[in-house]
């Protein structure tokens, strides 16, 4: 177990370095440096700018530049935004990150609360009406683009029925305390469902097939033979085993969740990392783009790492070789 965890962490490090090299390469490929785009004072000798470039290390060999860049990134110094003059990239990201985290957790909660009970029901009553409906929903959920679903949700539930707000995080009047949270949750319902849709569809399918497998296994038959109650069998024996792959899947689907958040936030004009990313691309604000790319990559690598370690913890049969 420990050996596995250590080896898995050791693999994480070169992955992290590779990721940083890609992002550094992309950042280097970005046109311009801190001096381009600014109106250079014609009375200043161009030699001065050249000296400044030299002083900032822009003329150093690439490996030296990479080392400097990587150590700055590691300490959370992402530079300053080119578009929001003088604002540090770190503060821009900090303003938005919590919103995206709330949205992600909210959609994950919806996913789990919907997918697991329905998946279990489908496995216990295969080929029932609800099972067929769930399968159909699963196919639709995986095929419908989340932005189209989001538009339909806004059109029906927000514009036609007026149940939920169509954009933003709070209405603006409720600051602080319980009222603010109520407003936040209310605003998160539509984007949360939109973001969680694809995950719900796929977890439901996994849950159904895992549960079907587990219910056929010997230890369930033994438990039945011993006269254990059905509720006990289902929740204590079967669910615990069937849920392992689901939790692992969450770690690996983390990237899909983040990509989904970029589009979903755009549909609902939700001020998170996704909208910041898109706006920065439109404004060609390279320091922000690269910082977000790197952060998303690191988040995904950590998600995969945790999923792998968790898997080996709950299932001692897993060994890496």
């Amino acid at each position: 177990m420990y050996a596995y965890t250590i080896r898995r962490v050791l693999i994480f490090i070169p992955m992290l370095i590779m990721l940083s090299i890609i992002v550094f390469g992309l950042a280097k490929a970005a046109p311009g440096d801190p001096f381009t785009g600014k109106i250079l004072d014609p009375t200043v000798d161009p030699e001065v700018f050249e000296q400044q470039r030299e002083a900032l290390g822009l003329n150093d060999p690439i490996p030296v530049q990479y080392a400097r860049w990587a150590s700055a990134m590691a300490t959370g110094d992402f530079g300053t935004s080119m578009y929001y003059k003088g604002k540090s990239v770190q503060s821009l990201i900090q303003e938005r990150a919590l919103n995206t985290i709330y949205l992600g957790l909210f959609s994950l909660a919806i996913t789990i609360l919907v997918a697991i009970p329905i998946g279990m029901y489908s496995a216990r009553n295969p080929y029932s009406l609800l099972d067929y409906s769930a399968t159909t929903f699963g196919f639709m959920g995986l095929a419908i683009p989340n932005f189209f679903f989001g538009l339909v949700a806004i059109y029906l539930l927000s514009i036609k029925l007026g149940w939920f707000p169509a954009q933003g995080t709070i209405s603006g009047t409720e600051i602080g305390g319980w009222e603010e949270w109520k407003s936040r949750l209310h605003h998160m319902v539509l984007p949360g469902i939109t973001l969680g849709l694809a995950g719900t569809a796929s977890y439901m399918r996994y849950m159904r097939s895992e549960m079907l497998d587990v219910l056929k296994s010997d230890y369930i038959r033994t438990a039945r033979a011993k006269g254990m109650g059905e509720r006990n069998i289902l929740y204590k024996q079967a669910l615990r085993n069937a849920i392992i792959p689901i939790i692992t899947l969450m770690g690996f689907e983390f990237g899909a969740l983040l990509s989904g958040a970029i589009i979903t936030e755009q549909v609902f004009n939700y001020p998170g990392i996704g909208t910041l990313f898109i706006n920065s691309i439109m404004n060609r604000d390279y320091p922000v783009i690269m910082a977000i790319t790197l952060l998303l990559g690191v988040a995904i690598l950590i998600g995969n790492l945790l999923a792998d370690i968790f898997y080996s913890l709950v299932d001692p049969r897993i060994r890496y070789d």
């Binding site: 059109y155 169509a166 990237g255 589009i263 990559g297």
Partner: protein, 291 residues
């Protein structure tokens, strides 16, 4: 006599074809897809309007006899954009899939067949590309470019999504190259090229076809998602994603559902049909995979 023998022994391909033809959902999906392709090809005969040219006096008009689905924010006819949009969306999806397929099969075959250092290097390269989700990597590359054209766009999709296919192809190559018939082919002096193309690929074709089919659905969604956020095929080219992009304007979203629901349904149904065909092919090539 030989005819009877032919009846008794069917090639795996014939068996797969028979199984596939029994799958009603997949056959229905093929007909639906043919219908969409037909509409895309015969677009000039189905509408007289130019999908790129707008009439500035006819902005956001409600449906009329002249414009069945009304006009968009630039006064362009929505119905003609829907038809011509199918052309671009399907072409982009298909060519991105073919491009990815070529990269994926060649790299996967090389990695799986030769093994060793080449394999190791290629696998690290796939790790590198897979370290970032497709959408983030594609968007970052798009941010670096001055201008995105359809060709560049297809290339970006292909160079960000080949690794999955490479791994699948490599996996089947790794197991196939140890089989007796490959050893036999090598023993009689067949060249690597001949072994790869004549002996190994035909045996690995099932998973390749299935994944390529399902990949086309992913590509169509990727194109429309990127176009929707304004980072894909540039306007005024009609694509389904570009048409949906108009609905980000709350006025169009509220007042003109006839403008954005058809392209959305177009994407949804096309992707659904392709997924059904892909699942049908999977069941046909590998009946054991069906749970």
């Amino acid at each position: 006599m030989p005819k009877n023998i032919n009846k008794a022994y069917k090639s795996p391909f014939q068996l797969a074809k028979e199984r596939f033809l029994k799958n009603k959902l997949a056959i229905a999906s093929i007909f639906f897809l043919l219908f969409i392709i037909g509409a895309a090809i015969f677009a000039p005969f189905l509408t007289d309007h130019d999908p790129k040219k707008g009439d500035l006096l006819l902005i956001e008009h409600a449906p009329s006899e002249e414009h069945i689905l009304g006009t968009d924010g630039s006064g362009r006819d929505n119905f003609s954009r829907l038809l011509y949009g199918a052309r671009i969306s399907l072409t982009v999806g298909f060519s991105a899939m073919i491009f990815t397929l070529i990269i994926g099969v060649v790299t996967g075959a090389i990695a799986g067949y030769y093994g060793g250092i080449i394999d190791n290097l290629l696998m690290r390269l796939t790790d590198l590309v897979l370290a970032l989700p497709f959408l983030v990597l594609a968007l970052t590359i798009i941010a670096l470019l001055e201008k995105v054209t359809i060709g560049i766009f297809v290339t970006i999709i292909a160079i960000t999504s080949w690794p999955t296919l490479t791994r699948i192809v490599r996996g089947s190559f790794l197991s196939l190259r140890e089989q007796e018939f490959v050893l036999g082919a090598r023993a009689i002096g067949a060249t690597d090229r001949r072994i790869i193309f004549k002996h190994v690929i035909p045996n690995a074709i099932g998973p390749i076809i299935v994944n390529a089919t399902l990949m086309m659905a992913t590509m169509i969604i990727a194109e429309s998602a990127l176009s929707f956020i304004g980072m894909g095929i540039p306007q005024p080219n009609p694509t389904w994603g570009n048409m949906l992009s108009e609905a980000q304007n709350i006025r169009i979203l509220r007042n003109h559902p006839e403008a954005w629901i058809p392209p959305g349904l177009g994407i949804l149904l096309t992707v659904l049909a392709i997924n059904f065909i892909g699942d049908g092919l999977r069941d046909a090539f590998d009946p054991k995979s069906n749970p």
